[in-house]
C-alpha cells in the first residue's frame, strides 16, 4: 500500500484481516489493544510500527477457533437458506396456480450453477476470497440472478416438453422442512459459539457473564428469518389466489 493511512483505518483493516483469518473476538480485542498501547507509548503511527496490517495479522499466528463452524454460520447457512427460500417462493406460487412444477434438463443445468457456487463455501479458501475481492460477491449475486432468470425463460410450457413433472406440494413441504432444519442448525451453532464473535477489550474480558443477553437473542432470532419470511410468502400467495378468480 503506497498511501499512508490513519491509525484508525489501519486498525480497521487489521481487524478485517484477523476476522478473515477467523481469529476469535477476544483475541482480536487483545491484539488491537496491544497496537493502541504501543503507538501511544512510542509515538509512531501504526503503519510505521507494525508495517502492513495484512502482514502483521499473518505474523501474529493467533489461534483460530472453530473455523468450520464460523464458516457454516456466517456464509454457508445464509446462502443455502436464501436459495431454499427462493425455491419455496416459486413452489408456493405454483401451488396455488396449477400445483404443477415443470422442469427441463437445460433448466436444471442452469440452476445447478448457483448450487455449485454455494457448495464451494465448504472450502475455507473460497469465503475468504469472496470477502477479500470486492467484485466477487457482486459477481456471485449476478451469476445466481442470471441463472435464475435463464431458468425461468427455459421453463417448459407444457408437460410434454418437461423432463420432470411434479406436484408443487412435495417441493413446498420439502423446502419448508429444509428451511426449519437450517434454522435449527444455525441456532445450535449460535448457542455453541459462546459469544466468541464479539471483540472485547482485554480488561473487560472477564466480565463476560455480566454482559446483556439481548445480542445473543437477536442472533438466534436472525436464524429464523427465512422460515418467518416463508410463512409470509405462503400466506400472500394463498390470499392472492383467493382474490383472483
Amino acid at each position: 500500500m503506497t498511501t499512508s493511512m490513519t491509525d484508525d483505518t489501519w486498525i480497521e483493516s487489521f481487524t478485517v484481516e484477523l476476522r478473515l483469518r477467523r481469529v476469535s473476538g477476544p483475541a482480536i480485542g487483545d491484539a488491537i489493544a496491544s497496537v493502541r498501547e504501543f503507538i501511544a507509548d512510542s509515538g509512531q503511527s501504526a503503519e510505521e510500527a507494525f508495517g502492513s496490517a495484512r502482514d502483521y495479522a499473518a505474523s501474529l499466528e493467533l489461534p483460530t477457533a472453530g473455523a468450520r463452524e464460523q464458516a457454516i454460520r456466517t456464509v454457508l447457512l445464509p446462502v443455502l437458506g436464501l436459495f431454499t427460500f427462493l425455491i419455496f417462493s416459486l413452489a408456493s406460487t405454483a401451488r396455488f396456480d396449477r400445483d404443477l412444477i415443470l422442469v427441463s434438463v437445460p433448466q436444471l443445468l442452469v440452476l445447478a450453477i448457483p448450487v455449485v457456487l454455494i457448495v464451494l463455501f465448504i472450502f475455507p479458501f473460497y469465503p475468504r476470497a469472496v470477502v477479500r475481492q470486492r467484485w466477487l460477491p457482486a459477481a456471485l449475486l449476478l451469476a445466481a440472478g442470471i441463472s435464475g432468470a435463464l431458468a425461468a425463460l427455459m421453463a417448459p410450457t407444457s408437460a410434454e416438453d418437461a423432463w420432470l413433472v411434479g406436484s408443487a406440494s412435495p417441493l413446498l413441504i420439502g423446502t419448508a422442512a429444509i428451511l426449519v432444519i437450517l434454522s435449527a442448525i444455525g441456532t445450535v451453532v449460535t448457542l455453541r459459539s459462546h459469544d466468541d464473535d464479539e471483540i472485547v477489550a482485554p480488561s473487560h474480558a472477564h466480565y463476560d457473564a455480566q454482559r446483556p443477553r439481548n445480542g445473543r437473542l437477536l442472533r438466534i432470532a436472525v436464524n429464523w428469518l427465512f422460515p418467518f419470511m416463508a410463512v409470509i410468502i405462503f400466506t400472500m400467495s394463498w390470499v392472492f389466489s383467493l382474490v383472483t378468480p
Binding site: 487483545d30 489493544a33 496491544s34 497496537v35 493502541r36 498501547e37 504501543f38 503507538i39 501511544a40 507509548d41 512510542s42 509512531q44 510500527a49 507494525f50 508495517g51 502482514d55 502483521y56 505474523s59 501474529l60 499466528e61 493467533l62 489461534p63 477489550a201 482485554p202 480488561s203
Partner: protein, 127 residues
Amino acid sequence: MTPQKPHNGQLATEWPSDWMRAVLGVFTLRALEPGASYGYAIIAELEANGLGTVKGGTLYPLLSRYEASGFVSVEWRPGDGGPGRKYFSLTEQGRIELDRTRSEWLRFATIGSDFLNTARTVGTDTP
C-alpha cells in the same frame, strides 16, 4: 520497569536484520529476566543496551509465539486513562529456555570469535 533512553551522544547501532532475527528471542527473554515488562519498554531496553531499534511489528509476533509456547505469561494492567498495558513475564519454562539459549549462544559466540581470529593466520599460507 521504566524505559531507558539510549546513552546521550551515542547513536543506537543498527545491526544486520538477519543477525537480529536470530538472537531477538534470547534478547527478549533476557529483557524480561529482571521482571515483567511491556512492549515499548522491552524495545527501549534493547535500544539502551546498544542492540538497535526493534520494530513493534517484529517484537509482538515473537511475544505472541512465546505466549503460545508457555515461555511468557501476560497480564493487562490498567493505564492512566489510556488503553492499559500488556505486561509479559517469564514463566518457569521461559527461564529454562533463557538459560539454555543463553549458554548455547555464548558457546557459539566464543567458538565463532576464535575462528574469526585464527582464520587470518591460516590464510597467509596460500600462494
